[in-house]
């Protein structure tokens, strides 16, 4: 389904964000090999914010985050991620919701 997956960037392009540069609201715990929950985030995140780096570790780029909270449900209990809301006024601003 690669031909479908690449379109997620296009989808996010339609959205409006106030990016809080330098302040990330979600952090991934340092690891050598990704745990089960971290691997699940690679596919479950609807904005595809989680990706593997060249060392095979899971990294997050939260700029396109649509703040659904799915990664908190999957990855917070195990301590794999640290989850906060963006600072007030930052992040996504839906026009239609």
């Amino acid at each position: 389904m690669t031909d479908l997956s690449v379109r997620v960037e296009d989808k996010l392009y339609q959205n409006r964000y106030q990016v809080d540069s330098g302040k990330v609201h979600i952090k991934v715990r340092e690891h050598d090999k990704p745990s089960g929950p971290l691997r699940a985030l690679l596919t479950a995140c609807p904005a595809r914010c989680y990706e593997l780096n060249d060392k095979g570790q899971v990294e997050i780029t939260a700029d396109g985050c649509i703040e659904c909270g799915t990664c908190r449900i999957i990855g917070e209990a195990s301590g794999d991620i640290e989850w906060n809301y963006p600072r007030g006024g930052y992040g996504i601003s839906f026009k239609f919701g």
Partner: protein, 435 residues
């Protein structure tokens, strides 16, 4: 941040928060409402359908100026396999009434309207402010909130937690558990813009009439989930949601799922030539009655999605949110009027009121449904839709095969897929959960 003390702080400006803040302010209480978005509605996502009755109980004349899209005259249910859908639909001219029962709305626009009503009622609404934790005294009583503003602590007699499905503040304060992955669905949705005449022609509508399509079947790839298509004035809201635990286990992606749903031969012509203007996603509480956390305590009440109040079977959430927000506010007002303190004992009035309302009665009715659909997801979302499609096609296709032979073949396909015991068991389980 603010030196004043408030009667109540409402955290969040969604349906439940706005209903609570409005009702409290309307009754003369000193209310502060905090919202982390740039404006009220900036972070809110819903299909969305508005239920008139529940809003009328808060703002009776809402039709005069609320931004409503289309009143619903028709509902379609689709059971889908990869190339077909078997449908049931209900349409009635009775729904073209003076005060329609259901409307489609665009949440961001509606929430801005609702927020203005909250301000007009006298509440202080502050946006762009994230509440980071609850302030509790030595005995654990909630006495206020901490925000990400400078000197951002504010105090109040009671805090209304309308923070949404994730329930972050409640979890941090130890008032509740984090929602589990098999008790919440992740829905992603898109807004497809088309000229209103095109929407009206494609859906057989006139004027402000609207249609809702709810779809289930192989579109969720064996996961427990549902798709939806709602008509607004000039856009079609389309999306699909499945349990987070199912995404986790299957490795399916939300964006592939929605693309495949859009490409389905029954869906594609409805949105052909449209322009997509937004992609959003949101969690929906799906655990039902058994997943509802404690709803009140010393100095706090919990409302709406934060309280996991959602009727997954009827796809109703915003009406439960509005009603819980209103009832919590009415309970707070009664306690306040008696000059009683906001203790758990006194605030239990809210629980009593919500137990007596349709909210808990409906959720109780379907309490076993979420577990059934989850454990039987392959049967209900893959096997049965495929069998039904095959049987329908055999019934309609004229090819010289005697009808008796076709009927036998259809029956045999059900029995060999699920066995007599399986079929009977599924029927009994479904009937029990529905009661």
């Amino acid at each position: 941040m603010i030196d004043e003390r408030f009667d109540a702080i409402v955290v969040g400006a969604g349906m439940a928060g706005n209903a609570a803040a409005y009702t409290l302010a309307e009754r003369g209480l000193k209310v502060l409402q905090l919202e982390r978005g740039e404006y009220s509605g900036a972070k809110n996502v819903q299909g969305a359908i508005l239920y008139s009755d529940m809003l009328e109980k808060i703002i009776p004349n809402f039709r005069e100026d609320a931004p409503l899209e289309r009143h619903l005259v028709e509902q379609r249910f689709w059971m889908m396999d990869d190339r077909s859908h078997t449908g049931m639909q209900y349409r009635s001219d009775d729904f073209n009434e003076e005060k329609p029962n259901r409307y489609t709305i665009i949440r961001t626009q509606f929430d801005k309207w609702f927020s203005q009503k909250v301000r007009d009622a006298g509440a202080l609404v502050i946006c762009e402010t994230t509440v980071t934790s609850l302030v509790q005294n030595g005995e654990g009583k909630v006495i206020g909130v901490r925000t990400d503003r400078k000197d951002g602590e504010v105090h109040a007699d009671v805090v209304v937690l309308a923070e949404g499905v994730s329930g972050l503040l409640g979890t941090r304060a130890g008032l509740r558990e984090r929602p589990e992955a098999d008790k919440v669905a992740l829905a992603s949705r898109k807004c497809h813009f088309l000229p209103s005449e095109t929407i009206e022609a494609r859906f057989n509508l006139k004027g402000d009439e609207g249609v809702v399509i709810e779809a289930a079947g192989t579109i969720s790839q064996g996961m427990t989930g549902m798709g939806f298509i709602y008509t607004n004035k000039e856009c079609i809201s389309l999306g699909i949601g499945c349990l987070v635990s199912d995404f986790q286990e299957t490795g399916q992606t939300p964006y592939d799922l929605i693309e495949r749903f859009k490409m389905h031969p029954s869906v594609a012509p409805l949105i052909a030539g449209s322009e997509v203007k937004e992609y959003s996603a949101h969690l929906i509480p799906e655990g039902g009655y058994n997943a509802i956390p404690q709803l009140y305590g010393d100095g706090w009440v919990m409302v709406g999605d934060a309280a996991q109040l959602n009727n997954a079977i009827h796809r109703e959430g915003s009406n439960l949110a509005m009603t819980s927000g209103r009832l919590a506010a009415e309970a707070i007002f009664q306690v306040k009027s008696r000059r009683d303190p906001m203790t758990a004992e006194n605030l239990s009035l809210y629980k009593k009121m919500i137990d007596d309302s349709f909210v808990m009665k409906d959720l109780k009715k379907y309490k076993d449904m979420p577990a059934l659909l989850h454990t039987q997801s392959k049967n209900f979302f893959l096997t049965y839709p495929q069998l039904v499609s095959k049987a329908m096609q055999d019934f309609l296709r004229v090819d010289g095969t005697p009808k008796i032979q076709k009927e036998k073949a259809s029956l045999k396909s059900f029995v060999s897929a699920r066995s007599w015991w399986g079929l009977a068991g599924d029927a009994v389980r479904l009937a029990r959960a529905w009661r």
